[in-house]
Subunit: 225 residues, 2 copies
DNA sequence: CTGTATTGATAGTAATACTATTATATTAGT
DNA sequence: ACTAATATAATAGTATTACTATCAATACAG
């Protein structure tokens, strides 16, 4: 993947940032540093002041890139969903059978993300870890409608739409493709979080990743006539 | 239900509060007022100072009941899951067939909550609305392990366990009952949130509540052999 | 009517979430 | 090489948040 993606980057809606963090060294340090720090101390305790110290810059400089830490979270999650869409599209290339395409799509959406490093300054495994724990905070707040209207969540919606279409290819009469896909995506994240923190809410098997398996079965049984 | 529940109240783990809000008029005003206010302005913008003003008390007095607004959120969600368990248990009374029991359980877990008012000072419809939008913040943070160990999430886990058992009665070989139940509970909340704010992620039909229907089908297809 | 507990009133602190100003360093164009 | 534009650093400052502390007023229980 490295070779192919090296000149592509997930597109993030420009209204999220004041200045594109991909456009400068400081910008990239902000992204690298915030992923690192949010993973370590959590989004609530994360502040621009602490980040500034960690990346040897200043609060005021960070504010020139992002209006608030909420916008930074929006950026990180939008980047993640953009990246996921690339991964999905590439992993589906040359697969013709809709059923195989769906199997592969569910796999990509639910599997544990390991270090990828297609992008030098982004640790995808850590990014995945914070997306699991923090990404829902990006839309679970009162500014969601305004931000949705501005197109902030387009990447996520496109991903859901893409997989929904595969489902409809397999069963054009299935009535809830979007519900099913968003249930799988959100569900897989929660199950991973539960496995780590609230294991009574899940069924973990030591050494095995049952999450993709569970959702594969769930989806195919739901859509088969 | 009113007559039966009138002398029962959901039990909330005492370590969540400093002083039981059910034990005084001020305590109940804190709960009533916070449900109202969190629903209106969201958990992030909600502060004890604003709440104090709204219920004509003082910040310091509220702090005598709850250490922080996070603990108050824990209290509210724990109360909600305790209440849900009562609703579930009562609604399953006298139903013998495991399949019918499961159908009813899914219905209770996924349906829209309407005004109930078994408890004078709690508006259950509003409570449901804030649980949908805010409850995941109760465990999506770095204190989750500590709080889980203290038993804060017992009510939620008991509910999942209860429904998982019904699934195993129907199909003792089904491997993922807890994953399935937590997927349904979390999923139903998200779908309701999406229906209101991010409709592209769901399949809403005007005038119809498709969420229970979708999850009924999903569950029974998943567990049937 | 006295001790105890509850709430209210007020004040104060450290941290957070910003905004503003000015200085310095870098780079780009001519 | 000089100028202008731009980016960042350094510093300071404000309003709000998330508390803690103190003390007075009230209630109520024995």
């Amino acid at each position: 993947m490295k070779e192919i993606l090296v000149h592509m980057r997930p597109e993030v809606n420009a209204c999220i940032y004041l200045k594109d963090p991909e456009s400068s060294d400081l910008g990239r340090r902000i992204i690298t540093g915030s992923i690192e720090m949010i993973d370590e101390i959590g989004f609530e305790r994360f502040t621009f002041r602490k980040l500034a110290k960690a990346i040897r810059s200043t609060e005021a400089s960070i504010y020139r890139y992002f209006e608030s830490k909420h916008k930074l979270l929006l950026y990180i999650t939008a980047w993640y969903w953009g990246w996921m869409e690339y991964r999905l599209v590439f992993s589906l290339a040359n697969i013709d059978s809709p059923r195989k395409r769906l199997t592969q799509a569910i796999e990509v959406l639910t599997e544990q993300v390991t270090e990828d490093r297609s992008f030098r300054h982004i640790n995808e495994a850590k990014l995945n870890h914070i997306v699991i724990a923090e990404s829902s905070k990006a839309y679970l707040n009162k500014s969601v409608d305004q931000e949705n209207q501005a197109g902030v969540f387009t990447g996520y919606k496109k991903l859901v739409e893409r997989v929904s279409k595969i489902i409809l290819e397999i069963n054009p009469k299935y009535q809830y493709p979007h519900m099913l896909v968003s249930t799988v995506i959100e569900g897989a994240q929660y199950q991973r979080y539960f496995a780590e923190h609230l294991p009574k809410l899940t069924d973990v098997v030591k050494g095995k990743d049952v999450i993709p398996r569970f959702y594969q079965e769930l989806v195919f049984r739901s859509i088969d006539t």
